[in-house]
């Protein structure tokens, strides 16, 4: 098998793009379900009652910054500055994990404090399914980055010439980040914005 491709783009990179396109439809369906059910069913407890916009803004900011940190990690890897690459990797992973920590905190707050479970009402069902799916995506991303970081601790296993694995992970990471921006806007901001129909 020759390593050359017709377009010059690596097969795996193309695969990643196609997968992300497919994943877009996956999230679109979940967000669609959420919007269709918004403001219907049992409204005893809803977005206005449970969302804490300042807290979630912080976690959103952390996730956004992790994307920036990812860019630095990649840039240093391409420049073959492995030490700087490692530092930015650690920072990306920590920020990703922090975001997940916020989500765990948020879920437990909703569940124990507000008594909101997926079984409670349509809001609970659609909210947990959508944000839970996103959380799973972030978890996969954190594990993936952690594996790359772990292997970079061994001599000569990560270098500028072999940056494709990181490139793929970075692509995925940015995608998951963008999806969160959409969720944060549609679910959190529009859900609590006073003039917006709920």
């Amino acid at each position: 098998m020759s390593d050359e491709t017709t377009t010059g783009i690596d097969n795996r990179k193309l695969l990643m793009w196609v997968f992300l396109g497919s994943d877009c439809m996956f999230f679109a369906s979940l967000i669609g379900t959420y919007l269709i059910y918004k403001g219907t069913g049992n409204l005893d407890i809803g977005p206005v009652d449970v969302f804490d916009i300042p807290t979630t803004s912080v976690s959103t900011f952390v996730l956004l910054m992790s994307s920036m940190s990812m860019v630095f990690a990649y840039a240093y890897l391409v420049r073959n500055n492995i030490n700087a690459f490692r530092i930015w990797m650690v920072s990306t992973i920590i920020m990703g994990a922090t975001f997940l920590g916020f989500q765990v905190f948020e879920f437990s707050e909703f569940y124990f404090h507000y008594d909101l479970s997926p079984q409670t009402n349509l809001f609970g069902t659609t909210f947990y399914a959508l944000t839970g799916t996103h959380g799973l995506h972030v978890t996969v991303g954190v594990v993936w980055l952690a594996i790359i970081f772990y292997s970079s601790l061994f001599r000569n296993s990560v270098s500028a010439e072999t940056n494709l694995d990181l490139d793929l992970a970075a692509l995925y990471w940015h995608f998951v980040d963008i999806v969160w921006i959409v969720i944060f806007a549609v679910v959190y901001l529009f859900g609590t914005f006073p003039g917006f129909p709920s």
Binding site: T7, L14, L15, I147
Partner: protein, 612 residues
């Protein structure tokens, strides 16, 4: 580009299969040709089981008030018949062609991701087994192939059948998605030098468009299935009407997937016919660019018509009018294709052998199905046709007379390429006429009884209704079709074992797969071909260039090596699938197995460095 040699924190040592033989060879193979044959044979067996279910349905309906199968078994029969034919029959039969033919048509040695390809097959097989095993594990799904929620929620459907359906479809979806990712990348990235997009054979084009539709449509039904699974397993409220759920949510999600799905079923069939007609008319395809653009337009419009399945749900006159218009619009590019096929044959020196007969059968049957399709695209008239046998007639004209006829045409056409032997032409023609006549007598009268108001999905009917005569005729003719399929099986087995030897190019073919021996060597092309035009192989034959003997040593060609992991990952998925139905601990074990085997797979190089 090479990848980072990642270090595993644990050691997984299952030494790689080297030159496996027999069963082990088939289990670990990643050769696209062998996987194509596995796909084809498995899907054909599934097609037969779906046919048996159809015969049981027709037997039950042969006369009024028969009691051959019980009503609840009847519900399972029609659900499983449609699910089988669509997801385990037509789709994987198309996938068999994708696997075998696409790398050959684009001049590649294999697909872009050979192990992913093997994974697709095994996952399809396990998905099919999960679905079919429901017959022996307490009852099959019984809510129709579209599984409308809320009737599929535990409140109305407490048995296990629906769980088998949900899990089976999700596993099959993973298989289809993996295959489609693979073929999109393969067609974009593995083309031979000079083979630009507008020189691609039409079958490759149709595969490409089908794969794009699939990667965009399947996530939608996957979400719907996950939502239903969460409802059934963990008491979520997606389809719980008591909590205020909208009973139309499922229908929207399902048909946003469902209508692109019908093009996923028919576009490959159109591609097959577009290969056969030029070859045997001895003319280039008429209007190549129009064919490609028409297909792309059909695929795009396929996203804007889903509510034509929901005209009677009360969406209102505006929505119904809009979806009427968009649906009717699709008839235009379809008509373009129809005229292009006719134009291809027009004035051609046509040889009416079995593949051509089946292709012409496809054209005429698909035309009838298309016309009845335009009839119920009109929302006002659809109110009378919805859920009657008129729709059953339509669907079978496009999927049996259409897709299945084209698939049979393709099997006959490429049979010499697959096996290196010729099929029996006489048996082939008998097979065609039995199926052609049988299918028309089975399905045409359904238009009549449908117009008389006979509803679908009823297990019997009163003798007073006046439907008995045509139903009797239909049931008789269904057995004629079955007899035709039997002749096909006999032909295939006989010819595969003892048919006369076929050379590499028995049809004076036009595309690259005919430029190599039959069956092709494991590496496909000794030298990667250089393409200069559409139908390049045919043009080169006309120039009568003496082909230069290649100096490449076949031993110097490095092919990807066999692997255990794809099958083991699929097995993990199957275990997780049964776990969701029976026991969540088992599900966890299955998922853990998937995790471990996926890691082992990623750390296994495509080629062992020392195996050169």
């Amino acid at each position: 580009m090479t990848s980072i040699p990642l270090k595993l924190p644990f050691k997984l040592n299952l030494s790689r299969p080297t030159n496996p033989t027999g069963v082990m060879d088939w289990i670990t193979t990643i050769d696209h040709k062998k996987i194509g044959i596995l796909y084809g044979v498995t899907a054909f067996i599934m097609f037969i089981t779906g046919g048996i279910e159809a015969l049981l349905i027709r037997t039950q309906l042969a006369g009024p008030e028969l009691k051959i199968v019980a009503p609840d078994v009847y519900n399972q029969l029609f659900t499983m018949h449609a699910t089988t034919m669509i997801f385990l029959g037509v789709m994987p039969l198309s996938a068999a062609f994708f696997n075998y033919i696409i790398p050959l048509q684009i001049g590649a040695r294999d697909v872009a991701f050979p192990r992913l390809n093997a994974f697709s097959y095994w996952t399809f097989l396990f998905g099919a087994l999960i679905m079919k095993s429901s017959w022996f594990l307490g009852g099959s799904p019984n809510a129709g192939w579209f599984g409308y929620a809320p009737i599929t929620t535990t409140t109305f459907n407490p048995g296990n059948g629906i769980d088998f359906w949900i899990v089976g479809l999700q596993v099959l979806g993973i298989a289809s998605l993996a295959a489609s990712f693979n073929f999109i990348v393969t067609i974009i990235n593995m083309r031979a030098p000079g083979l630009s997009f507008m020189r691609l054979p039409l079958f490759t084009w149709m595969t490409f468009i089908t794969a794009i539709l699939l990667v965009l449509a399947f996530p939608v039904i996957t979400v719907a299935l996950i939502e239903l699974m969460l409802d059934r397993t963990f008491d979520f409220n997606f389809f719980n009407t008591k909590a205020g759920a909208n009973p139309l949510l499922w229908q929207h999600l399902f048909w946003i997937f469902g209508h692109p799905e019908v093009y996923i079923l028919i576009l490959p069939a159109m591609g097959i016919v577009s290969e056969i007609l030029p070859t045997f008319s001895k003319k280039p395809v008429f209007g190549y660019a129009a064919m490609v653009l028409a297909a792309a337009f059909i695929a795009f419009m396929g996203w804007l018509v889903w509510s034509h399945h929901m005209f009677t749900t009360g969406l209102g006159p505006i929505a119904n009018s809009v979806f009427t218009i968009t649906t009717m619009l699709i008839a235009v590019p379809t008509g373009v294709k129809m005229f292009n096929w006719l134009g291809t044959m027009w004035g051609g020196d046509i040889e009416f052998n079995t593949p051509v007969l089946f292709s012409v059968g496809f054209l005429s049957m698909f035309l009838i199905g298309g016309i009845s399709g335009v009839m119920h695209s009109f929302s006002a008239s659809d109110y009378q046709q919805q859920d009657t046998y008129f729709i059953v007639a339509h669907i079978h004209y496009v999927l049996f007379g259409g897709a299945i006829f084209a698939i049979f045409a393709g099997i006959y056409y490429w049979f010499p390429k697959f096996t290196g032997r010729m099929y029996d032409e006489k048996l082939g023609k008998q097979n065609f006429w039995l199926m052609f006549i049988g299918q028309n007598i089975t399905f045409f009268p359904m238009h009549f009884v449908g117009m008389q108001g006979m509803p679908r999905r009823i297990f019997t009917y009163d003798s007073e209704m006046g439907w008995a005569f045509w139903n009797g005729v239909e049931s008789f003719a269904a057995y004629v079709v079955a007899f035709g399929v039997l002749l096909f099986i006999i032909n295939m087995i006989k010819s595969w074992i003892s048919g006369p030897k076929a050379d590499g190019d028995p049809w004076d073919g036009r595309t690259l797969e005919w430029s190599i021996s039959s069956p092709p060597p494991v590496y496909n092309f000794l030298d990667v071909p250089k393409v200069e035009s559409l139908d390049d192989f045919w043009h080169k034959k006309q120039k009568k260039n003496k082909s230069v003997k290649s100096k490449t040593n076949p031993k110097s060609i490095h092919l990807p090596q066999a692997s255990y992991w794809p099958m083991l990952v699929s097995l993990g998925l199957a275990i997780a699938g049964y776990g969701i139905i029976y026991n969540l601990v088992v599900c966890g074990i299955g998922l853990a197995m998937v995790l471990v085997t996926v890691c082992a797979w990623s750390w296994e190089p495509v080629n062992e460095p020392d195996a050169h």
